[in-house]
Amino acid sequence: MERLFLKESKSTPYVDFDADKDILLIKGQSYPENAFLFFKPLLEWLKEYLSGKVGQDVGFEVTLTYTNTSSSKCIMMILDLLEEAADRGVNLNLKWICNEQNEYEQECAEEFKEDYTFPFEIVLV
C-alpha cells in the first residue's frame, strides 16, 4: 500500500502513514479551513490499511499541539476507526505525545482518550 506522507503546513500537521513499517504518525497543529478535506484521504487510507491488519501490530503516534473543533471531530473519526479495527483484532498501540509542561495538551489528550478501549497511552515528554 502506498505510503501517505504530508508535509506540515501552518495549519495542518505532518502526516506519515507508512504501511510497510506499520507506523503511523500525525504531528503538529490542525486548523485547516476545511478539516474534512484534509482528513478525508487519511480516513480512507486508514480504512483500507486497517482492514488488512487483523492479528498484526500497528503503532500509531499522535502529537497534536492544537486542533480546531472540526479537526477534533475528524481525529475522533480516526479514533473510531482504530476502535473498530481493534475490535476486529488489529493489535493497535496508540501513543499520544504531550508536552509535560503543558497541562492543556494533557487535558485534551485525556478528553480524546475517554470511552476508547484499545491501548491508548498518553506519553509526557
Binding site: 474534512f36 478525508k40 492544537y66 472540526s70 477534533s72
Partner: protein, 550 residues
Amino acid sequence: MKDHKSDAIFDDEIAIYDEAREYLNKEIVNKEELIEKFNQFANKYCRLINMTKKLCSISDVQSRELKRREIEINNILDNSDQGFLTFGQNLRVEKEHSSECTRIFNKRIVNQNILDLLHTENVDQNKFFADTFKTVFNLQDKEAQLSCLSGLPNLIKIRDNYVHVKYKIINTDEFEENSNRLMLVLTDLTERRKVEDQVLFLSFHDKLTGLFNRTYVESIIPQLQIVSNLPFSIIMADLNALKLVNDVFGHEKGDKLIVQAAKVFLKSCRKSDIIARWGGDEYLILLPGADREACNRVCENIKTMFAKLSSEQIGLSATLGGVTIENWDNDISSLIGMADCVMYSNKLMESKNNREKVISSLEKAMQSKCSAYIGHCERVEAIAQRFAQLLDLGREPQEMANLSLLARLHDIGKVAIPVELLNKRTSLSENEMLIIRKYPEIGYRMAQSIGEPILAQSMLAIREQWTGNGYPHGLKGDQIPIVARIISIVEAYDVITHDQPNKQKMSHEEALKELERCAGTQFDPNLLRLFLDNADYITNFTPFPSDAKG
C-alpha cells in the same frame, strides 16, 4: 438541513437522520421492527451526544488556552513600552494594537486612517507616506515592498513627541488572499531625547548658572580666532565675597550669589558676547569684535549693575580684568591669562575698598534684622575706646584698631541667625539657644574670610567667661583675648541699658550693679573693677544723633 462546507464531517450522522426520516415515511410499520429501529436510533443518538460532549470539552479547553495565550501576549505587548499597530490596504488601523499606541496618539486609534494619525505640518512628508503606503500594497514582491518602505522616515514627531518608527510587512491571515498588512512599531524617544539633550547641554554649560562652561569655551577657541572677530576683548571677573557668603550663610546662599552674578553678566553684556563660568567664583566673557572702548563699556555696565544690587545681596560684587587685542599675535588662551593678571592686579588695588563694602553691607544687614542693634555697635565702639584709654592698650594703635573693629563687628555672626530668634520677645528654648550660640563661630569664619585672623580669634571668644563657663570653647582667664574681655563688659553694659526684644532697659546705676554681680564669673574682675570705678567717665560720650543713652 442547512448546507455547509463542514457538513462532510457529519456525513455518518446525517445518514442516520436521513434513514430515520425515510423510515417514518413507510406506510406499514411493524411494531417489533419499529422498536428495533428506535433502539438503534437511540443508541446512535446517545453516541452523538457523547461525541458532542467530548467535542465541547476539548473545544472549551482549547479556547481557554487560546484566551490565556492572548492575554499573555497582550500583556507583553502592552508592557513593552512600544506601540504595535497594523493596517491593510484601506489604511484603517486594525483592532489589535498595543496600549502604547493609545498613549502615543492620545486617542483610540481603531479604524482611524493611518495617514491622519501620522499627519504633521510637513506637507511633503504626509504626501510621501500616502504615496508609499499605496505603492506598497500594490506591489506583490516582498523585497520590492521592503525596499519601498525603507525610504520612509524612521523618526517622526507625533504630538510634540519624537517617535521612532519601524515598518514591517506581515501576513495576518493565512487563509485570506491578499492578507498583507503593514505593521508599525512605534517607540517614543522623547524622554531619551530629553536626557540626551540634557547631557549635551550639561557637557557645555554650567549646571548652576546655565552659562557656558570652560569645556565649551576651550572647544570654540579655534573658531573664534578669525580676522573678522578683531578687535577681540576678554573680561575676567572674580566674585569678591563668595567665600565669605559660603562661610557665613552657607553654600546655598553662595550658590544664589553665583547665579545672581551670572544674571548681572548676562544683562550687562552684548548679545554676541560669550559668557562662561570659568571656575568656582570666576567668570570669563569673550567679546568678539569689541575694541577697548566697547570692552570698558561692558565693564562699566557690570560694575553699575553690581553696585545697584549690592544693597539687596550681601557680597554681590566682582573685580574685573579686561584686555583687548587688535590682531592675532596672541592667541585667546594667552589673552585669558592676561585678563586674569589684570583682574588680580585690580583686586589687590580694590581689596581694602571691597573689604569695607562687605563689612558695611553686613552691618546694614544686621541692623535691618533687629532694631535693637541700631546704634549698638557704634556705642560699644565709643565706650570701648574710652575704656581702653585707661589701659596700656590705649597706647597701642594696632590694638586699638583691633578693639574698634571687634566693637563694630562683634555681633556680625548674628546676621546668619534667623530673624525670628533675634526678635523673640519670650525666653528662648534650649534649641533656640543652641542656634543663637553659633554666632561667635559664624563671626569667626566671616573674619577669616575677609583676612582678619586676629579679629577672628577675638570674635570667637566674645561669649567666653572668666571662669570658663562660656562658649564655644570654655576658655578662661587670660586665655580669652583682652579685646574680647573688654568688649564683653562694654557690650553687656550697652545691652542692659537699652531695650531688647525680651528685656526692658535698666538705668546706668542698675546696669553697673548687674555687672558687678558678675565680676569674677562672667567678666575679668580687674577689668570690670576698672570699668565700674570709671563708669561715669567711660560711658559719658556724646550720643549718636539717632540714639539716646539709656
